[in-house]
Symmetry: C2
Subunit: 281 residues, 2 copies
């Protein structure tokens, strides 16, 4: 199976429309139809159910969509990492990816400590959207990530725990509940007029519910400060708070563990040293 065929099939499977997929791929529709047919013949499997009004995935097609994405990521990773390995000295030796607006202190400490090590290489820091870090590791855009359990999935990655912290509720200053020594999750759900914002999911959609839609932490903090929302966040957000917000411990929220994660078959000395530095912090 060639990567071209896989790319073509994945495009059709995602669009569920040969015409749109062809446009996305920058080719005409007939060759795309033909390529997918040929793939189906070679696999001996029907991947798509065609009706004259559109396309639907078969079970086998769903399997190939999932596995094919993983395979294309692996190919992309091979390509990117080879390019990086061949790049002249001075380019980034390691790329670290983490969520935008999280772990800033831990990250700063880690980068400082690592830079002080003998033989340290340049580290590029990439900030990306929630849930995108694992993808960056799998397709070679990054070598190592800072993830936050239980929010981020770490399946298929090697990890070391760095830090665990409890979560706090963020309330507008002056709210009656700020007087309480601690809260429970149910207390917050019951506050009238202070809904929990809905974060954008990986696929771009938002969960149902009453709260406002947000997609980054800055927006969220602003909404809390304005008295329009509340939120449960790791206690390290306290360092970002001014006196317009108050943090109250939430005793029954799951605690958050920051982990350093990397693709399992990585074998680079700088990466090993960065991980060692991280675990010693």
């Amino acid at each position: 199976m060639e990567t071209r065929e896989l790319r073509y099939f994945v495009a059709v499977a995602e669009e569920l429309h040969f015409g749109r997929a062809a446009r996305r791929l920058g080719i005409a529709q007939p060759p795309l139809s033909r390529a997918v047919q040929q793939l189906e013949r070679r696999l001996g499997a029907t991947l798509l159910e065609r009706t004259s009004r559109g396309v639907a995935l078969t079970d086998a097609g769903a399997v190939l969509l999932r596995e094919g994405r993983a395979a294309l990521d692996a190919v992309a990773a091979a390509e990117r990492r080879t390019r990086r390995a061949a790049a002249p000295a001075g380019s980034p030796g390691l790329v670290l990816v983490t969520k935008a607006g999280a772990s800033t202190e831990l990250l700063a400490k880690l980068l400082d400590a690592y830079a002080a090590e003998p033989g340290a290489v340049d580290v590029d820091v990439v900030l990306c959207g929630i849930g995108e870090q694992e993808r960056h590791l799998r397709d070679g855009r990054a070598d190592v990530a800072l993830l936050h359990r239980p929010f981020d999935s770490t399946t298929g990655l090697d990890t070391e725990e760095l830090h665990t912290e409890d979560q706090v509720a963020l309330l507008p200053a002056g709210h009656p509940m700020t007087a309480r020594p601690h809260l429970r999750v149910d207390d917050l759900a019951a506050i009238p007029g202070l809904p929990m914002p809905r974060r954008r999911r990986d696929d771009g959609s938002y969960p149902d519910g009453p709260g406002p839609e947000v997609h980054d932490n800055t927006q969220l903090l602003q909404l809390v400060a304005l008295g329009r929302a509340t939120a449960i966040l790791p206690e390290s957000v306290r360092t970002h708070l001014h006196d317009d917000m108050v943090a109250v411990p939430v005793i029954d929220a799951p605690s958050v563990t920051t982990v350093i994660a990397w693709p399992p078959h990585s074998r680079s000395l700088p990466l090993a040293q960065l991980i060692r530095t991280a675990t010693r912090l």
Copy 2:
């Protein structure tokens, strides 16, 4: 990057010889040279150092060899799993791989328990050489494996622990040490005339040392029974012993954990049910 190019490069990188690689690939040597040159041009990287007497890998080439193998495995997995998903009912629903000659009781119990579950599918059992299981999972030849820590690597796999056991030393019946209630690893290393056999490594070579070379457990047991060797093995081997051998606990050997492992992104109901059954044993 096309899988064809990757396959070609991997063949050359493994053979370190264009002619042999071409023969292995079933093509002539000139197109192979050209394909690798084209790959190098596209990547903007020198992958191989050519001398008129042969070929050596550059750093970038070593990266692409490792990453490329992983990518080709992922492509092969996509292909195999799709074929399986499309195969008519009656073909194996799950393929389980484990070391030849290990975990037989646990495996039998697991298969029995799973077969009794409602909705269970057929399970094919594949026995393979030591260290080959991970590869079977990664390239789609198997869906799930029984592994033994700390011997098998589980990096990049999801696992659940099933069973932990201590290790025992296997001695020929009548040996003076069989009178001892327990032993230490150092005691065994010091026995004259009873060396530890050398097991074949993944690459087919054997470690240096005095012991005989073996590559499976049957051979090993035979050598012990003949009074030509000793070995440290999980205590479950006791069930295979006749009265020609004696097992003595080794108190400082690492204990062995049997785990069930699967590729991290698997999403099949039968697999989930098998894993659930396994953890409940």
